[in-house]
């Protein structure tokens, strides 16, 4: 017998269930408990950059909206800097910028909306710049392990993005592009399954 490898195993995931809002967004569950709810403001009033609004809906394999989903956003500021010590430029990150937020869908329609600033491009691996994108994490009843994806902008130059170019089926790349409805206003629908299924990532 060789020596045992002494790594621990990652705690296995379980679905967030239908009542995820109680813990992560109690206001949406219908009650007030904490002095402040986390994740409501990604970019504060003093954050630099173009203000944008993104709206969308998450659809299941039958095309029905998922009404109990919770999304989290993680993004760089308008200069492409993450407010995190691992970013070599983090000291220059815009003031008043958290980079992280929680999005709750409307319980009746499944529609969601988020306000933030448009991220700048971020340096990727091997010196290849990534086009501006939001990192998204999606949990809900029926989702056993949170789904990761990215949202890119159709009005940016995405041609050289190293992640989009990894998607073998070229037609599927557009599932990660937010449609521009008006200046500063985008639409991004996520399809969990079936026709037009969004590309999900193992990161």
């Amino acid at each position: 017998m060789p020596q045992p490898l002494d790594y621990l195993k990652e705690t296995p995931s379980q679905t967030a269930g239908p009542y995820v809002h109680i813990g992560l967004a109690p206001g949406a569950a219908g009650f007030s408990i904490f002095r402040q709810e986390l994740g409501q403001v990604i970019a504060g009033p003093d954050t630099k950059g173009e203000r944008i609004r993104v709206e969308g809906v998450v659809l299941d394999g039958t095309g029905a909206p998922v009404k109990d989903v919770l999304l989290e956003v993680w993004q760089a500021d308008s200069a492409g800097i993450y407010p995190h010590p691992e970013d070599p430029r983090h000291a220059e990150c815009s003031a008043d910028f958290r980079g992280w937020g929680r999005i709750i869908t409307d319980f009746d329609s499944g529609q969601w909306m988020v306000e933030t600033v448009k991220p700048g491009s971020v340096m990727g691996r091997n010196g290849r710049r990534m086009a501006p994108h939001l990192n998204l994490w999606i949990v809900a009843r029926g989702i056993n392990l949170g789904l990761q994806t990215r949202m890119y902008f159709e009005d940016e130059d995405n041609a050289a993005d190293p992640v989009l170019n990894l998607i073998e089926q070229v037609d599927r790349r557009q599932t990660l592009l937010a449609r521009k409805l008006a200046p500063g206003h985008y639409r991004f629908d996520i399809r969990l399954q079936g026709e037009g299924e969004t590309v999900f990532l193992d990161v």
Partner: protein, 240 residues
């Protein structure tokens, strides 16, 4: 040596997206394969939290929603450490929990179960781990409750747990179960996890050493997040 990417997630240890016996997963699971990425700055960073974000009472579910007195139910402490796969503590990370009350009823406008609401129990809490990755909560033990899957499915008593770690690719939500609960092995959500050893990892043992005599019992629940490689024989991620 600065840490680089995270270890690949073992997706045979986690539940698969599609688990037929958990019915809601059928229309909510992707049919196509995930696209695997090597870590970039977008994956190895994530939100950070500090003591300005939360209040000291936020980890005490017996008091953080009390209106007229203490909630009804079995008083317990839930405590443990957040570690990575290398066994290193994950300090200053946000741990959030939510749960039903002792009747199995959630304080959520969508929960119509006939188990009674408790006017003194909200059912959510949050805390930051200390420099050793340690966290603790005080709460009441949640009750089991029925759910519409098969006609007579009941969830075992559980507490939902959300953890951040230091990077967005460590983000994890799971559920903690209680040692000895006979509903655990019957539950289609528990059984989405294929390996019984992985299920055991979600079952918190009774911890008499942490119980407070004549006051409350305790359960210990350690949480393991993904670990990171060190940068051996290679260039670091660009920009690092």
């Amino acid at each position: 040596m600065k840490p680089a990417e995270f270890y690949q997630r073992d997706r045979l240890w986690h539940p698969p997206a599609l688990a037929q016996d958990y019915k809601t997963s059928v229309p909510r699971s992707p049919r196509l394969a995930l696209l695997s990425l090597e870590g970039s700055l977008s994956e190895i960073t994530g939100p950070t939290f500090g003591h300005n974000d939360i209040d000291p009472i936020d980890n005490d579910l017996i008091r953080n929603y009390a209106k007229t007195g203490d909630p009804v139910g079995e008083r317990i402490i839930v405590h443990g450490r957040v570690l990575d796969e290398n066994g290193r503590p994950v300090p200053k990370t946000l741990v959030e929990i939510w749960q039903a009350n002792a009747s199995g009823r959630y304080r959520h406008k969508k929960d119509g179960y006939l188990g009674a609401l408790d006017p003194n129990f909200g059912g959510c809490g949050r805390t930051l781990t200390d420099e050793n990755g340690y966290y603790y909560f005080r709460t009441v033990k949640p009750g089991a409750y029925p759910w519409r899957n098969w006609v007579n499915n009941w969830r075992p008593a559980h507490i939902h747990v959300s953890v951040f770690g230091s990077a967005f690719s460590q983000r994890l939500i799971t559920q903690m179960y209680f040692e000895g609960d006979p509903l655990i092995r019957q539950c289609p959500i528990v059984n989405t996890i294929p390996d019984p050893r992985a299920i055991d990892q979600l079952i918190a043992p009774l911890d008499m050493n942490a119980a407070i005599p004549l006051d409350c019992l305790a359960y210990k629940f350690d949480i393991v997040l993904r670990g990171r490689r060190s940068t051996l024989f290679e260039n670091r991620l660009e920009g690092n």
